[in-house]
Symmetry: C2
Subunit: 338 residues, 2 copies
DNA sequence: GTGAAAGCGCTAACAC
DNA sequence: GTGTTAGCGCTTTCAC
């Protein structure tokens, strides 16, 4: 029924090693021979057995995608994960690898051991560590201990000799801030995200850069502390908008919080964007479903994951930055006339 | 470095076959022997090599989760997928299997062959086919052709001799309709979903059952045709609400469309739930973020996927129905006084 | 209850 | 350029 490398060799009149060479695209095969083998492969509908190949080669052709477990809390970040998966899958397919997903709750005591177990048990040939796990030393060390190549996604800050793929959080946030300033806003507030997530922290730096580049003064009172959740966005908005001198623009470090800001504004009878401009970061699906639709920064997660897989399966790059892009929609507009 | 079954056998003073028996929980091992082997395993930190085990046993310990590729179109169904993945992963872990995800665009010409290739190449030991792929005969046949055990999720209608896991779409929709009728609504509209998706069609049947059970007459004019998308929900709502006798309640076949209904109502200045009640199906994350929060039916996707994996890895059941549950929130209320 | 031996289908190392 | 041979680390079969 299922044909093996022997069947192919026999039919093509060559040795199994030659078949192996053809299958693995190794050199040292004459074109005629190669064609003959390929014909035999087609005729027999031969497909190499992965288990046998893995066993003999000590490699698994499996890439692990490790990310914060969404089951651990209530969060709408599913789009984030799906995007990564899509990018990673795309790259895996073209590199003849498979993808193993591994959501993982960093709050658990034993994550380190569990991670090590998964990686070694499955003999993963590479691991992708998504943010915010990528900036948690406990997690990174566990992966490192397995001696498996790994790349970190948005680790916040770069470490030498470690593969990583990032986006330009800081610069794109500077651009967004400058864009808001360009609309005439002078009191631009910023809603911080969860400080566990290093890349998100970088967004605040970009906000400050943007203020400076626009000749605006940074005011501590225009900063609010959120935790990346919708609810925290609502709370921060309430706090900011109840000030004697409320901001005319609020820039949130992620879209969920920005959505919370819009909701609170609506409840307070503040019209977006006429009285208040709101911007976010991520470009989750919700951004286009909100009313008004949300101006935000699109994080190229799928490309980032794709590049990460490529790093593990061939590309020799060590560090890659995939630029984010401003998505201007309905939630931002000219500053209201005083 | 990495220890093998030989190392364990040597240390325990037994043959490798006995170690194998212990590892695989096979019978015919004396307790003393078993303990001795287990101690050796611990001491050596032995973990069986999956590739070797798969090669020798002709099984892969891999379950494939196949679902409609979200990249194929613009859809916020990521929560749907994440939920399935979570359930499937949970069951895989307890059954010592791994999960391979495989988003797949059924609109492509070659899906059948691609699917066959993935399944046979990876030697999957089982496949889970999510809706709506589970009710597409082209897809089902392709999976069938591989002779790999598979279970269908929400296939719309049951087929004999085929494993499947469903939820009670029809009954829960009847309950929702009865609930709305119980609030005094007499003109309850229904927004149909995509007819490609058989299980979604069953929801309309439940709506009709509910009307009947409540003594209400079915009116063709209170049915609108959506396609599961947010935008189609908006359009259907506009159509329904512009009638001379508009409905006082709209029940949409999924949450995305229900969200579109709420949006349109807001734009038309119709207050939800005071002038209009709105209900959905699925209980996606968005349901709790809408304003007002959405009354809906929670589809137990994670459990369904979990049971599906269990069917493939041990459980001998053929058919399983996991009940859905009403989630009453802010978007439904008493019918307005005439 | 336990063990010996024969593969599983491939890759790696080296010979030719 | 191509073939030979020896494993990879397990499970299976069957003998004891």
């Amino acid at each position: 029924m299922k044909s093996t490398i022997f069947d192919v060799a026999q039919r093509a009149g060559v040795s199994i090693k030659t078949v192996s060479r053809v299958v693995n695209r190794e050199p040292n095969v004459r074109d005629v021979t190669r064609e003959r083998v390929e014909r035999a492969i087609d005729e027999l509908n031969y497909r190499p057995d992965q288990s046998a190949r893995n066993l003999a080669s000590h490699r698994s052709h499996l890439i692990g995608l490790v990310y914060d477990d969404p089951a651990a809390y209530e969060l709408p970040s599913s789009g984030y994960i799906i995007n990564m998966q899509q990018g990673a899958l795309r790259a895996c397919r073209s590199a003849m690898h498979e993808l193993l997903i591994h959501p993982c709750d960093f709050r658990r005591k034993n994550v380190g051991n569990e991670l090590r177990a998964v990686i070694t048990d499955a003999r993963l040939s590479g691991v992708i560590l998504a943010a915010p796990l990528s900036n948690m030393s406990r997690i990174v060390r566990a992966v490192q201990a397995t001696n498996t190549p790994f790349v970190r996604l948005s680790p916040g800050r770069r470490l030498r000799n470690q593969l990583c793929v990032v986006t330009d959080d800081q610069q794109s946030c500077q651009k967004m801030t400058e864009y808001l300033a360009g609309l005439g806003h002078t009191r631009i507030a910023f809603v911080r995200g969860n400080q566990d997530h290093a890349a998100v922290s970088n967004r605040e730096l970009g906000y400050k850069d943007g203020l400076q580049a626009s000749g605006l003064k940074f005011r501590r009172s225009l900063i609010a502390d959120g935790d990346n959740s919708f609810a925290s966005g609502e709370q921060c908005a309430a706090k900011l908008l109840n000030r004697k001198q409320p901001p005319t623009a609020i820039f949130a470090a992620n879209d969920d919080m920005a959505a919370g800001v819009i909701r609170t504004a609506a409840r307070m009878g503040i019209s977006v964007p006429h009285e208040l401009s709101v911007a976010g970061f991520d470009d989750i699906t919700l951004a286009r479903q909100l009313d008004p639709t949300l101006t935000t920064i699109r994080q190229p997660l799928a490309s980032m994951a794709e590049k990460a897989v490529a790093m593990l399966t061939g590309d020799s790059e060590q560090y890659l930055c995939v630029p984010a892009s401003l998505q201007i929609r309905e939630s931002t507009g000219k500053a209201p006339a005083t």
